[in-house]
Amino acid sequence: MAIEAALEKRSNTERGEGAQCEGLIFDIKRYAVHDGPGLRTVVFLKGCSLSCAWCHNPESISPRPEVSLHPERCIACFTCVKVCPNQVHQFGEGGEHVLERDRCKQCGTCTESCYAEALVMVGKKLSVGQVMEVLNEDRAFYEASGGGVTLSGGEPFMQAEFTTALLQSCKAAGLHTAVDTCGNVPWAVIQKTLPYIDLALYDLKHMDPGEHKRHAGATNDLALRNLRRLSKSGVPIEIRIPLIPTVNDSPAHVEAIGRFLASLDNIVGVRLLPYLRLAGSKYASIGRPNRMPEVDTPTREHLETVAGWMQRDRPLTIFINA
């Protein structure tokens, strides 16, 4: 995993101010092709200001490290039981591994000694300098493809200081930057990073404040207000819409999105992301209740129909990731 590789890196202090600033990262993915132009490395920051029912990265929601359990990898060596100072780990009659998560202090003793990687610490502290070392490894690939770096999450702006410092470092290193945000953060945080962002990937989930609160845990006021401001800032924006049948795919709602987008500037594209109910195992691994809606993945035909509704008022550049 690139994130483990990053932990091995010695932060290069010559990278200047902010290089020692630390963030909580839960994954780094290289060779990403659908998160901004070209080949990209995506840095996933832990912690989100929303908690969408359909979230497929549930390990991104909590702003603290979490122990994830992958029982299929367990070799039943019971080392975790022996080393845990807080009696978190228990094995039931049938051999099932039970975590008393209330007692867990995220000390990392069990994950460190679980060689089989059945127990993994989700969320590692990394400095800007360490992350930059990994990002720079793929420079040749960015250059060949017009790619760069994407910060995602979670919500990257939840770790404002780290995100700003990392973006600054990327720009100083001449790397193209994109940030994937839900927008539900103070405008001042976003504003401060604008000089260092080449592309904003902006999530849009629901136009109705009540529905937004019901499904995502907060109203959409701040997110929509920030999007209007952002659209005046000159930063190109790609809108990303997770399309969840019965939640946000009705003609009326989609047309409302279209009208709203038509009123904005600097929208370079709209990407429809079909809902996929595949994250059940992830919820289980971190002991988070799974509230994913029990609906099917929309078909390409449906997505194309939705794209048609969305452009009733004004044509948009719509990408479909079916």
């Binding site: 690139a2 994954d27 092709v33 060596c77 060689y115 040749a140 992301l273 595949l278 390409r300």
Partner: protein, 766 residues
């Protein structure tokens, strides 16, 4: 073929490929020979037997040539009136395959003769070296062809053949004999006589085809037009230079057939867009042909390759792209037309390879990326400047190096000038680690196969492990080299090859057969397999035993002996907590480079049995599986019998840092040290290459691999079969990630229901 056997539905001359397709697929299984056209295989066999009986004392090259003559001038022949190309001679084995030596019919009359001579030699003059190699193969140290001699992997010089025709070769033979004057030896005289016999026989065969086509044209009015074209072609080629694109293809296929019937394997079918381009261009310019019709001819021509293998054998390779001897780029409109034909045929054979230059156009990259994305994943992409430099470093002049062809799978040889024996031996680089840890004794068989390098428990540190590894490998490679050289020296007695000799410079001028050092370049390939396993095993010992001192060497040896039984925690540590090749890890990559440098330089110190150089390669092919079966548990955490790593890539499931890191690692190797090829197999997720951005990403991946100096790369897009396999063997696929925009998850950690959902998505998706 009798008139009754032919489906005589009215047809036009053109646009018939799709309707003929199923028929063409079975063309070698369902051929019916008219008894009036010649002797039955049994009668032919008797004729040959009586000839050989009466000419026991004749030099073998003449025996071979005369048997060839009898087959070509007396065997039954057939023409399929629906086909554009003729080729069928009843020599007892039409459904020929690369492994036909193991078939009951032995691959036909001529191959059976060569096989008999091979077995005689293996039991006699080269008995000792054969037995030594057999034991090495048994111990999983290596694999190679019977008797230790790769007689295949021939790349005939098509341009020279087309320019001269077989009549021109007969003139060259006469001139060469005259030039030698009184210095000519009896051996050379026999060789020249043999050349004349086989070329005259081949010309007589083509005349027989021409006469049969004329006769059939009268009998089959619906196919008359095509049969007349065939008759005209066969009265010209291969005796003379081809006059049209169709004749060039016909010349190529028939001579390819004759070389193989004689007993060689033509493993590169040539540089398609250079060799056939002048004929294509002339036909188009003269208005004799349209691109669409040319494409149809290509399909009929190529389908023969598929009909032969039925998709089940190692295929043969057509090359595209690359450069002329003067360094100018070849890619032209025929390149793209042929790629279109390949895409429309949608068959696993023939195989295609692409030679990329720094100047290659965006169009070529994109076209190739599209084909890969759409599942045509048998293509090998070669880095031309690197491949050329690797050959130049081994003494091949630049102009000749520039016309190399990837032979068979990936091994370059100069077209028509080099006999490369490229797959002469495939060496298990990981076996050396096992032997170094066991004082040269193979723990599986208990045999002492290597030298005594000491009890590993007494090793003071990692340097001792490395020294023992090098001693084990040195010993093996030196003995293997000696054994191969012995087999090479016996080549003229095993398989004299006059038919192919004229297709390889300078056999005629030197008066020497392909196995006697006649070709301008005579090389032997030493392929190294399992680099990742050797590297990961050594680096794991270095880290876990000698640096961290987490385990003693004794504990590791015990665990290996027990195949990690009861030591799963140690195995998990070795798998997950020690550096692995393919992740851009400096420790692992440094060691891989050290192994590769050692191996290649060792091989390059050898001179082969024909006086030429030995050429190193790094890839594995099926030996990953078979060599793995004969290799015990290794310190990289691999269990006994499991497959070795594929090609140059990381071990299965151990490249956890994405394909870009894998490419970073692999391109740290010195590609100019592998003149016999080095190929990275990359497996991509289907979503990673979807849509326009996925295509652009793939193009960027290829370009970056090449610009970083990688040697060759081959892509696979994992499919439903992979996912089903992952369900069966989750451990092998522990790092297989299912990736969708913005997120990813380990496939094996999904519930069964979720796995099914995902499989359904990629099946019914796009």
């Amino acid at each position: 073929m009798s008139a009754q056997a032919v489906d005589v539905k009215a047809r036009g001359l053109w646009g018939t490929f799709e309707e003929c397709r199923d028929h063409l697929f079975k063309q070698y299984q369902e051929t019916r020979f008219d008894p009036d056209t010649g002797l039955s295989p049994e009668a032919l066999e008797a004729e040959v037997a009586s000839y050989l009986e009466a000419h026991r004392d004749e030099p073998r090259v003449l025996q071979k040539a005369n048997v060839f003559r009898i087959v070509m001038t007396h065997g039954q022949i057939a023409i399929d009136p629906q086909d554009w190309f003729v080729d069928k001679v009843n020599h007892g084995c039409l459904v020929r395959s690369l492994s036909c030596e193991d078939r009951p019919d032995g691959g036909g009359i001529l191959r059976r003769l060569s096989l008999r001579w091979l077995y005689d030699t293996m039991d006699g003059p080269i008995g000792e070296s054969t037995n030594w190699l057999r034991r090495a193969y048994r111990a999983g140290q290596a694999t190679g062809p019977k008797g230790g001699l790769d007689r295949g992997h021939i790349a005939p010089g098509w341009d020279a053949l087309f320019a001269a025709g077989l009549t021109g070769l007969l003139d060259k033979v006469a001139q060469a004999r005259e030039a030698l004057g009184t210095r000519v030896t009896p051996e050379q005289l026999a060789f020249y006589e043999a050349l004349e016999i086989v070329y005259r026989a081949a010309i007589e065969l083509s005349n027989r085809f021409a006469r049969l086509a004329l006769k059939m044209a009268d009998e089959l009015p619906k196919h008359r037009e095509r049969l007349l074209i065939i008759a005209s072609a066969m009265s010209n080629v291969p005796a003379n230079p081809p006059r049209t694109f169709h004749e060039a293809l016909q010349f190529h296929w028939l001579v390819h057939e004759l070389i193989e019937i004689e007993g060689e394997y033509v493993r590169s079918a040539g540089q398609f867009d250079r060799t056939f381009y002048p004929f294509y261009k002339a036909d188009i310019d003269a208005g004799r042909l349209t691109p669409e019709r040319a494409k149809e001819l290509i399909k009929f021509f190529w389908y023969k390759w598929y009909a032969r293998t039925q998709g089940r054998e190692n295929g043969k390779n057509f090359c595209f792209g690359g450069q002329y001897p003067d360094g100018t780029e070849i890619t032209n409109e025929l390149t793209y037309l042929a790629l279109d034909a390949f895409e429309e045929m949608n068959t696993p054979d023939p195989k295609l390879s692409l030679r990329f230059l720094p100047t290659s156009s965006e169009k070529l990259y994109r076209r190739v990326a599209e084909l890969i994305r759409d599942g045509h994943n048998s293509m090998v992409l070669m880095n031309d400047p690197v491949a050329v430099e690797a050959l130049v470093k081994r003494g091949i002049p630049l102009e000749d190096a520039r016309i190399y062809l990837p032979i068979g799978c990936y091994e370059p040889a100069v077209e028509g000038k080099q006999v490369g024996c490229t797959m002469n031996i495939t060496v298990n680089l990981a076996k050396g680690v096992e032997l170094a840890l066991n004082d040269g004794r193979d723990p599986t068989t208990g045999e002492q196969v290597g030298p005594h390098t000491g009890d590993a428990r007494s090793f003071a540190g990692f340097d001792d492990v490395w020294d023992a590894y090098v001693k084990q490998m040195d010993y093996f490679l030196e003995h293997a080299h000696d054994s191969i050289a012995a087999a090479e020296r016996a080549w003229p007695q095993i398989n004299p090859s006059p038919m192919v000799a004229g297709a390889i410079e300078d056999c005629i001028a030197r008066g020497k057969d392909v196995g006697q050092g006649g070709p301008r370049y005579n090389t032997v390939g030493f392929v190294g397999a399992g680099l990742a396993n050797a590297c990961d095993s050594l680096v794991a010992l270095k880290k876990a035993v000698y640096e961290e001192k987490r385990f003693t060497i004794g504990e590791v040896l015990e665990a290996l002996r027990a195949n990690f039984e009861g030591q799963e925690r140690m195995r998990q540590y070795l798998v997950n907590r020690t550096p692995k090749w393919g992740n851009n890890d400096p420790d692992a990559d440094g060691l891989a480079r050290r192994i590769a440098d050692y191996y290649c330089n060792k091989v390059h110190n050898f001179t082969n049995g024909r006086g030429g150089p030995c050429m190193a390669a790094l890839f594995s092919l099926t030996f990953a599986l078979h060599g793995g079966e004969r290799t015990g548990a290794l310190p990289d955490g691999r269990r006994a019998g499991e497959s070795l790593a594929p090609g140059l890539a990381a071990s299965y499931g151990r490249d956890r840092n994405s394909v870009t890191a894998l490419i970073d690692s692999v391109t740290k190797l010195d590609s100019t040290l592998t003149p016999n090829g080095a190929v990275l197999d990359v497996t991509l997720h289907p979503s990673a290459i979807k849509e326009e951005e996925g295509l652009e990403g793939l193009v960027a991946l290829i370009k970056t691999f090449l610009s970083k100096g990688g040697y060759a790369v081959q892509f696979n897009v994992f499919d439903v079969d992979t996912l089903r396999d992952a369900q069966r063997y989750p451990e092998r696929y522990s790092t297989l990630q299912v990736r969708v925009t913005g997120w990813s998850v380990y496939f094996t950690s999904l519930s069964r229901q979720e796995q099914e959902l995902y499989i359904a998505r990629i099946t019914h998706g796009n």
